[in-house]
């Protein structure tokens, strides 16, 4: 890591790349946690077709925006932690987390539609 950038707190291009990677991986996880909460409070009830017409898409937009916001917060936390670590350690961890996401998210989305 570049010492000058660590001292100034300004991320260099490697740290920016790690931030982008962390944001991309953490956003769907934050989204799925919100969806799990929504399903848990509705006790998994099937939506009433008669109400579909009146429902809006606002819940999806809010879930997506809040998911991205949480991912941003967590990515910044990762970056602060990663300043003291070799960037390859965080990159390896994010790669493994992404592969786990690729395998587990479809199951999670199936269980929590």
């Amino acid at each position: 890591m570049d010492e000058t950038n660590v001292a100034s707190g300004t991320p260099n291009s490697e740290q920016k790349a790690l931030l982008a990677l962390a944001l991309g991986v953490l956003a769907p996880l934050a989204y799925m946690i919100q969806r799990a909460f929504e399903v848990s409070i509705s006790a998994g009830a099937t939506p009433n077709p008669a109400l579909v017409l009146r429902s809006t898409h606002a819940s999806f937009y809010w879930r997506a925006i809040i998911g991205a916001w949480w991912a941003g917060v967590l990515a910044l936390a990762c970056w602060r932690w990663a300043r003291a670590q070799p960037s390859s350690t965080l990159a390896l961890g994010l790669g493994r987390l992404a592969l786990a996401c690729g395998l587990l998210l479809p199951f999670a989305a199936w269980l929590l539609p």
Binding site: E14, A17, A27, M32, P49, V52, S88, G95, P106, A109
Partner: protein, 149 residues
Amino acid sequence: MNPLVLLERIHGHLGVLAAAALLHPAILLWQGRPLSRRLRIAIGLGLALLTAAFGLGLYFYGDYRELVKRDLFTENAMVGLLFETKEHLSYATFTLAWGAGVAAWLAPPESHAIRRAAACVFAAAFVCAIVVIVLGVWVAATRSFEANG
């Protein structure tokens, strides 16, 4: 032809093309080499196709809700819920692919580990995209704009 039917078909075709375009950078980035012009184009094309498919889906969702979704749940509630699953996985595909694409673009030439991690993230996005395609075909075969004329 009803313009919504046309948009729905374009959305589906763009989604299939986007999935194929996500696999290419996953394979090339795994080598860890700095981005060549060809790889930059592959990443840009994959993200452009994915964004077009995702954006088009959001664009006609209002009409879909009014004209199709109610009948879809009435006809088969399980398939209606699969539509919701498809929506969640579309978001996951979109964020994973953009995160990987931006990371690959920003990574300096010596950062092999970041490019290999980006390859894993692209692979995860590809898996999610394939599931989205399968669910999309299933849902469209059950109820689509075409059934509503």
